[in-house]
Amino acid sequence: MKETGLHELTEKLIGTEIKAELLRLFHMNPGILDTVESIARRIGRMPNDVEAEISPLVELGVLRKERFGKLDVVSLNTSKDKEVQEKLATLIEGGAKG
């Protein structure tokens, strides 16, 4: 993962309300393997709003988006998510010490 500052990383992860809701949803329910439309329904949001917020999380690697026939299927990339969480913890620890 590219060196990223604490502010930039938290912005990418939970910079908006929908991103925070998405992360919470996937952390509480790591077995979700679903379409954007259905994920939007699960957090009570509109698909277009969720689509826009999923992209940065896919870019970061926390979520995985795979094309399957006519459908884009989104799931949690557990190993990358763990890596990002560890990175975040290190940055927070470094910030606290600094």
Binding site: G31, I32, S38, F68, K70, L71
Partner: protein
């Protein structure tokens, strides 16, 4: 040849468990215990019979399943961490999406080395798939799971809580599956009780009695048959006309027992 459910009384009713590679439909109205029975089948598979499993849910979120399972002492998160069980939360269009004979959940089936699968509930497919395509899609899904040698349990909603009419599904699913277990709420002496019966098993004998069951702190517990009652499936049974009651009736109204 057989996949034990681990619910000993049910395994006895099935004459030794579910037929391996078959699809079983557990049908009942809300609150009858379909999800508990299906989960217990997977938990027992993973913990007692060394058979890993996959639980596919549509509306119910995994977090709720973890919580509800914990009330029976089943630690699903631990089983997931051990690679013995996996909860997948998806929607019907994903489940019936096939590209070059592959389905999105195939990778998880292979990763877990699943021998058992539960789809809870197959009734949700009706809301997402056009009626004209539903039977065909179900047929494809069932055959896909059979080709993967999974012993499958599907749950299905029955809308009739009480009454003498029972519709398992509207698309002839009862003809596509190999075994049907019916769960029903019945009223007996002003109490609501739960009844279980096996409607069919393809290629095997089975217990034909209606049995009472309870959802205990350890899961499903099947007890005695409703031997003294008739019309239990209607939801409002009446006492059977036994020889004893016949004698009592004769004595009371005719005077000669």
């Amino acid at each position: 040849m057989r996949a034990l459910t681990g619910i000993s009384e049910l395994d006895a009713m099935l004459r030794g468990g579910l037929m391996r590679g078959d699809v079983t439909l557990v049908v009942g109205s809300a609150g009858t215990g379909k999800t508990t029975l299906a989960l217990q089948y997977l938990i027992n598979g993973a913990t007692k019979f060394n058979e890993n499993g996959l639980y596919v849910t549509f509306e119910q979120m995994p977090a709720q399943i973890y919580r509800d399972a914990a009330s029976f002492g089943w630690d699903i998160r631990k089983l997931e961490a051990e690679g013995k069980l996996r909860i997948v939360c998806t929607s019907p269009p994903v489940l019936v999406q096939f590209v070059e004979q592959r389905n999105p959940i195939d990778a998880i089936i292979e990763e877990v080395n699943a021998k058992r699968i539960v789809i809870d509930s197959i009734s949700h497919l009706e809301a997402f798939i056009p009626a004209s395509e539903l039977r065909g899609e179900l047929y494809r899904l069932i055959n896909h799971l059979k080709m993967k040698e999974l012993t499958s349990v599907f749950t299905a909603e029955s809308h009739e809580v009480f009454g003498d009419r029972l519709v398992v599904t509207g698309v002839g699913l009862s003809f596509l599956v190999d075994c049907i277990i019916l769960l029903r709420i019945v009223e007996i002496q002003s109490s609501l009780k739960k009844a279980l019966t096996i409607l069919k098993i393809r290629g095997s004998d089975h217990d034909k009695q209606l049995r009472e069951f309870e959802i205990t702190a350890q899961g499903i517990k099947i007890t005695a048959p409703f031997a003294e009652y008739e019309g239990v499936l209607t939801g409002a049974p009446r006492k059977s006309w036994t020889e004893e009651t016949a004698r009592a009736w004769t004595k009371a109204f005719v005077g000669k027992p």
